[in-house]
Point group: C2
Chain length 127, copies 2
């Protein structure tokens, strides 16, 4: 079984907007063993569609999509699930899972608490 | 010196969009000693303007604005700095600082690495 994780960002026609996501992807890819890709929901390349097609072509059997979103708004409740459904139909050999957005993950709340504690000179509860 | 930290989210006319930010603010306020507020750049209330005005009225002398954004796009490079400038002029007794977006903070990269490691069954380098 070949597993990949796709970091999904919204996308923008502004290349300045994309740069920090590319840096984040690079920083994570450097330190993780998990094959990581960065894809965009719309407006930027590589798209989610082309990324999943490439994974399927390479024989990947399982991929998870981790949205780099703070919250599950309309995009994550409607648009992205529809994209995922269409991709499942197009690539039946690839098991595709949409994860909750990173902003809803407890580790993210921890990180935010640490950032605030640092700013405020408050001792972080993480110790 | 009275210090406050303002979590700044983009804002949306969709109340569904706001809910996770409100939950995040609540979760953080519960565990932090630092006075925390959640404000929106546009489209939602409370606005950054009304939040800062309230802090100034309450006699706050220092406030930092932490953008709940992944990246410094046009909003954080142009729109929000202009808002902050206007607020400084309107409330000279309040020292107002705009922080980099949380997405650019090392703690955030750590958190994301932990989320990915957990999904991929990979040992996190945080241990």
């Amino acid at each position: 079984m070949t597993y990949s994780l796709i970091l999904l960002a919204h996308g923008s026609s502004d290349p300045h907007w994309r740069a920090p996501f590319e840096q984040l992807h690079y920083a994570l890819a450097q330190r993780m063993q998990t094959p990581l890709r960065l894809a965009y929901m719309e407006l930027s390349e590589p798209s989610l569609e082309s990324s999943v097609a490439e994974l399927a072509q390479q024989g990947a059997t399982r991929a998870e999509v981790l949205p780099l979103f703070f919250a599950a708004g309309r995009h994550l409740r409607k648009d992205v699930p529809a994209q995922i459904e269409a991709l499942r139909a197009a690539h039946p050999g690839l098991e595709l899972t949409l994860l909750p957005p990173v902003g809803e993950h407890p580790a993210f709340v921890e990180a935010l608490a640490a950032v605030i504690a640092e700013r405020a000179g408050e001792k972080s509860s993480r110790g």
